[in-house]
């Protein structure tokens, strides 16, 4: 590894990095704007200037942009030189020429990269005394608020939206100091990843529009690490709360899964937590025909306990509830009476996924991004697993790069130069779907057909992998050749059994040929795979079986069963107990409704498409009558077995061998850092003592959290917590999300202490 000298001190750094990347990784603070670890360098902002010296005798040095300077052995530089410091401060002064200084009313205020960098450079006095230029804002739809005057023209938004995510409708317009970033006319942004602009933009040009309704500063938010349950990818998120409302969902970095970016479904899809449809009090009806009325928790519980006692009870689980909730239901009703709350097709596909994952290796999103070829069979990933589609796009972008930079040596981080070399070349990404998808334009070849035709194509590819023949020019041969030539290949599928089997056949064929291949099977919901691992009977059987008393866990039967079957089944049920957080058609027919906590208010474990168990923690304590489902279900038993989350999680690990490692997904509630819990609130959290003063001037005790090592308080450890417990990205001088740099082993690499979560499935075939 090359050694560079910063102020005459030697440091070892990785050879393939630029100087900025290397210095930040060593813990030095260099201000920057246009550089982003996932987007590379373009040298536009000129903010990251450092001074390099020719040799140890050179005292004059030369100012260079660290982001555009490759690391080389023996390089000597200084970050803290009066000349560069003045230059960096002047860059901020230039940016401030037209910046509106509206921090007090700006939603970015408090987690603004521009604020951080301004303080870092020390610029504090405005010398420009002329009028500022102004722009008109655009309406960019319901999710993104646009405030163009704040723009500092770092070009990150277009580079992310256009180059990285393949969006079409955001661009840069105009020239000189009238450069404008937006759409060519007002209108909602079309990309599935538009929400990331909020985090990519270093200042308040693109801000989270739903979060604007709550006007909360980052330091006032109570946050907890969690997992998105909108699809089976299991992206890591941070839920942020203020005044009992879920204010904002932020990306939580996970090297193997979502990296720096989320899809809009994950970022903006959790509004139901604050929704009108939320069930906040237990509901019960006196008799069939009477209407559902609010009641006390005790009353609802006693009704439910009575209904359950001594009867055969059927439990219907849910792929959107945590493993623990499903396990608690299974324990309550017994394994024989536990039905997986999946539709017929989902049931089959989930069980097949499980079998295939036990046989063949799978790949994380990061492994997809760095693979050399991929084949998508049957899935429109932009709807079923959008973040996976983004990962595949990176594969398609990255793979020709690797070839080009052999012919013309350019460092991979030199974004523009690399794209120039690659031009329109596409990587070895192939897609076979029933209809056009947005991923098609990144694919080298596309095939449209019915699902059985797609399965046929998959089998043909498998056959062609087995018997390579150069003469036939069919699509299957073309795909097979590309897959065989790849160092690492990924086959993506899901949904349909025949297609999944065909995908598995391709993987098997590639492995027979000695190639490293992995199978990725999408899952429709956050815990579908976990539910299959827990095991239970098919929901179609429930219609036949029937029972007097049925408990439905966070599920709507009308969405899983044919309308007639669901109606008939519920007609026959004497007592229907439903646990859910929002009103559905099933809760409307229930006799007792127990209000369940949402994912943002509960602690639980979810298993993603690759069999990785991940822990979510409650961002805020639910309202008094709202409880986590496993708590309600435990209360329905004759005596309490599981006072805390760790109890239920341990019990599950013992009872279900597949989940033996589930408790390791995150530290247990007993975890302490220097004797302290990890605070969910920032040290700057405001109004703690007065926030409930309108109710009682005496400050109440903060809610207890027996379930996790996190505290509903600003007090606790100030150290960097273990990765599974990171509740916010903050470091001294770094208030924006860019503070993330300080949490990684190497910038853009895994988190310090390893990425959270634990894989539960060990495939027979070793990768």
């Amino acid at each position: 590894m090359p050694v560079i000298y910063i102020d005459d001190q030697p440091y070892e750094v990785a050879a393939h990095h630029n100087l900025l990347h290397a210095c930040l990784g060593l813990g030095f603070d260099i201000p920057y704007f246009c550089w982003h670890p996932a987007l590379g360098s373009v040298g536009a902002c000129r903010q990251c200037a450092v001074k390099v010296f020719r040799d140890e005798h050179d005292r004059r040095g030369q100012i260079v942009m660290s982001c555009m300077t490759p690391v080389r052995d023996g390089l000597r530089l200084t970050i803290d030189d009066p000349d560069v410091r003045r230059f960096r401060a002047t860059i901020i002064e230039w940016l401030m020429v037209n910046h509106p200084h509206d921090c007090p009313v700006c939603d970015e205020g408090g987690h603004c990269h521009l604020q951080d960098m301004t303080v870092m450079t020390g610029h504090n006095y405005r010398r420009h005394r002329f009028a500022k230029r102004t722009h008109r804002n655009q309406d960019l739809g319901p999710h993104i608020h646009h405030e163009m005057n704040r723009c500092i023209q770092c070009y990150r938004c277009v580079r992310f939206y256009h180059d990285y995510a393949g969006g079409k409708d955001l661009n840069v317009f105009g020239a000189h100091h009238h450069v404008y970033f937006g759409r060519h006319e007002s209108g909602a942004l079309e990309s599935e990843f538009a929400g990331n602009l909020v985090e990519v933009c270093p200042t308040g040009v693109f801000t989270d529009k739903p979060a604007r309704r709550y006007y909360a500063r980052k330091w006032d938010l109570q946050s907890a690490p969690s997992v998105c349950g909108q699809c089976g990818v299991g992206c890591n998120v941070l839920f942020n709360e203020r005044y009992g409302k879920l204010v904002r969902v932020d990306n939580r970095y996970h090297y193997e899964i979502n990296g720096y970016f989320l899809c809009d479904r994950g970022r903006f899809g959790h509004d139901f937590v604050n929704g009108e449809e939320r069930i906040r009090r237990p509901l019960a009806r006196e008799s069939r025909g009477a209407s559902l009325r609010e009641t006390s928790a005790d009353d609802a519980l006693s009704r439910a306990t009575q209904a359950v006692a001594g009867r055969r009870v059927i439990g219907i689980g849910s792929p959107r509830a945590s493993l623990e909730a499903n396990f608690a239901l299974r324990e309550l009703v017994g394994a024989d009476s536990f039905y997986l709350g999946l539709s017929d097709a989902e049931f089959k596909s989930a069980n097949l996924s499980l079998a295939l994952l036990r046989e063949l290796p799978t790949a994380s999103l990061h492994e997809i991004e760095t693979a050399d070829a991929a084949l998508v069979l049957g899935e429109d990933l932009l709807t079923t697993a959008p973040r996976m589609a983004l990962a595949l796009r990176q594969l398609a972008r990255r793979q020709p790069t690797a070839e080009s930079i052999v012919a013309c040596p350019v460092p991979e981080w030199n974004d523009q130069a690399v794209r120039e070399l690659v031009q329109q070349q596409k990587g070895s990404l192939f897609s076979a779907t029933p209809g056009p998808t947005k991923l098609d334009e990144d694919a080298a070849a596309v095939y449209y057909g019915e699902l059985d035709e797609i399965a046929g194509l998959g089998l043909a590819v498998a056959a062609a992998v087995d018997q390579p023949s150069a003469e036939t020019d069919s699509l299957a041969t073309q795909i097979a050749t590309a897959l065989r030539n790849a160092k690492r290949a990924v086959i993506v599928s899901g949904g349909n059994e025949a297609v999944m089997q065909a995908a598995a056949a391709v993987v098997r064929a590639l492995r027979r040929a000695g190639r490293d291949a992995a199978l990725c099977l999408t899952q429709p919901e956050g815990d579908t795979l976990g539910l299959a691992m827990l095991g239970g009977r098919a929901l179609s059987e429930v219609v036949r079986d029937g029972a007097e008393c049925v408990i439905v866990l966070e599920n709507d039967l009308f969405a899983r069963l044919p309308e007639a079957d669901a109606t008939a089944f519920l007609e026959r049920t004497k007592t229907l107990i439903v646990l859910d957080h929002s009103i559905t058609r099933t809760t409307a027919r229930a006799d007792v409704v127990l209000p369940a906590a949402t994912i943002a208010e509960s602690t639980g474990t979810f298993v993603n498409y690759e069999g990785r168990a991940q822990r979510c923690f409650s961002a805020f304590a639910p309202q008094p009558d709202v409880r986590e489902s496993w708590r309600w279900l435990d209360a329905l038993r004759s005596s309490l077995f599981w006072p805390t989350f760790d109890d239920v999680c341990r019990a599950m690990a013992q009872a279900v061998p597949a989940f033996a490692k589930a408790p390791d997904a995150a530290p247990s509630a007993a975890f302490r850092q220097i004797g302290n819990k990890i605070p969910r609130q920032s040290p700057r959290f405001s109004g703690r003592t007065a926030i409930t003063a309108q109710l009682n001037v005496s400050e109440p005790k903060p809610p207890d959290d027996p379930d996790s090592p996190l505290a509903f308080s600003m007090e606790g450890s100030r150290e960097q917590p273990p990765p599974a417990l990171i509740a916010r990205y903050w470091a001294p001088g770094w208030n924006s999300v860019q503070a993330l740099n300080k949490f990684q082993q190497e910038i853009g690499g895994p988190l310090r202490g390893g990425d959270p979560g634990v894989r539960l499935i060990e495939p027979e075939a070793k990768p």
């Binding site: 555009m68 002047t90 860059i91 940016l95 070009y155 000189h176 523009q416 070399l421």
Partner: protein
């Protein structure tokens, strides 16, 4: 032998030479001599030997530039050659003269340069406003194709060249070689970072050489008459002639082809006829708008790359702008800087935000609303918009007249501040 190879055979009435006229005057002889007869590397070595330096402003030795282009099996095809005819600098009009007066000369130059670097496709990137030149070049290209000077298998050598004419859409940045390449690709003409240099990854990510029109026009004569002859044309160690121009309040503004290294005084007095009556010379921008001022006492300076550099300025395009005593130097600089601020591409911070600030400060001073602190602001910009600190050379170029102007015309700036008005208005 002709001492004005570039312009000597042009018609005095400014009509273009037709293909027949051009060929009769010895045109396309160089192509016949070189293509297929001598190896491309030999052509490159000839150019290296002749000390031909780029006439676009930077003065980089042409042969050396070509030597970076990968050859043979190494080269990723196609290789491109681009003639830079996007002449947009204030006061510059030499390329227009060459394109309108003798369009076949530039085509021949393009063919020779393309042959030397083994290019497959060539472009002439023409400034959009040059409609007359566009018509004439388009016609000439068609004639050249017809005569077999362009197209497949030129002179039976097996080597072919496609030549396209592209008219620009108007941005000064298109004159910067990487900005030009981006524009040609149908993108915004923002410059690119170097390295990688265009010789390795240029147009469409392929090896590309961008050469000024005047440089290319020298090639046919250089190839026909040899390096020794070419070096003898000049009055300094750089080879060849140079088209010098003068604009401003002189008796006969215009452009003339003279030996490289002709002193300013000769150009100004012998060719341009000296200053108009009653007007006195104050300073000269010797190489166009983006070069440092030289004062009257430097008027004997030879106009060549090295002498200009030694004197703290640049030869640039060789199209000098003359400042007289009846024009306000602050106003003149304001006009120049407004042009540069307007033509900034908006990519990097110092240029995008710094130049408009300079314009605002200069405008305030010119309007009598200046403050002493404005001079410090201007001075700061001349330091911090330096080479290497900005993304490309536009802002450093824009700072050159301001940098020297602040020193030479310090008294005039202070008079503006003191009197609260422009003394010339």
């Amino acid at each position: 032998m002709n001492d004005r190879p570039l312009t000597g055979r042009m018609h005095p009435d400014r009509t273009p030479l037709s293909l027949r006229e051009y060929e009769q005057a010895g045109g396309y002889q160089a192509v016949r001599q070189a293509v297929g007869r001598i190896a491309p590397v030999e052509v490159m070595n000839l150019v290296k030997e002749s000390n031909l330096r780029g006439r676009g402003g930077a003065g980089f030795p042409t042969g050396v530039k070509w030597s970076f282009v990968p050859r043979g099996a190494q080269a990723r095809r196609p290789v491109y050659l681009i003639a830079n005819a996007d002449e947009m600098e204030p006061g510059a009009f030499k390329d227009r003269r060459l394109l309108e007066g003798d369009p076949h000369q530039i085509i021949e130059g393009v063919i020779l340069a393309s042959y030397a670097i083994e290019a497959d496709i060539a472009y002439i990137f023409l400034r959009g406003e040059y409609t007359l030149a566009a018509r004439r070049v388009r016609q000439a290209v068609a004639e050249a194709y017809q005569a077999g000077w362009l197209g497949k298998n030129i002179c039976g050598s097996g080597w072919g060249l496609e030549l396209h004419l592209h008219t620009g859409a108007g941005r000064y940045m298109c004159g910067e070689e990487t900005g030009l390449i981006n524009s040609l690709e149908g993108r915004r003409a923002t410059p690119r970072n170097k390295p990688p240099f265009p010789q390795l990854s240029g147009l469409f990510g392929r090896p590309t050489v961008v050469q000024n029109v005047e440089t290319l026009c020298n090639l046919p004569h250089l190839v026909t008459h040899g390096a020794a002859w070419f070096k003898e044309l000049s009055r300094c160690k750089d080879g060849g002639t140079k088209i010098y121009g003068v604009s401003g309040k002189v008796k006969r503004p215009g452009a003339w082809e003279l030996p490289m290294g002709t002193p300013i005084r000769e150009i100004l007095e012998d060719r341009a006829g000296g200053m108009r009556d009653g007007v006195h010379l104050r300073a000269i921008l010797p190489g166009g708008a983006s070069t440092e001022f030289v004062t009257v006492d430097q008027i004997n300076m030879q106009m060549d790359f090295d002498t200009c550099q030694a004197a703290g300025t640049r030869l640039g395009t060789g199209m000098m702008i003359v400042l007289d005593d009846q024009t306000c130097p602050v106003g003149m600089m304001l006009n120049l800087e407004r042009f540069f601020a307007q033509e900034s591409c908006g990519w990097c911070t110092p240029c995008r935000e710094g130049l408009p600030w300079i314009v605002q400060s200069l405008a305030a001073i010119e309007a009598g609303r200046g403050e002493p602190a404005d001079l410090d602001i201007l001075e700061m910009h001349t330091r911090l918009l330096g080479p290497g600190l900005t993304y490309c050379a536009l802002a450093p170029g824009a700072m050159e007249p301001l940098h020297s102007g602040l020193k030479i015309f310090r008294d005039d700036f202070e008079r503006h501040l003191r009197e609260g008005r422009c003394p010339w208005s």
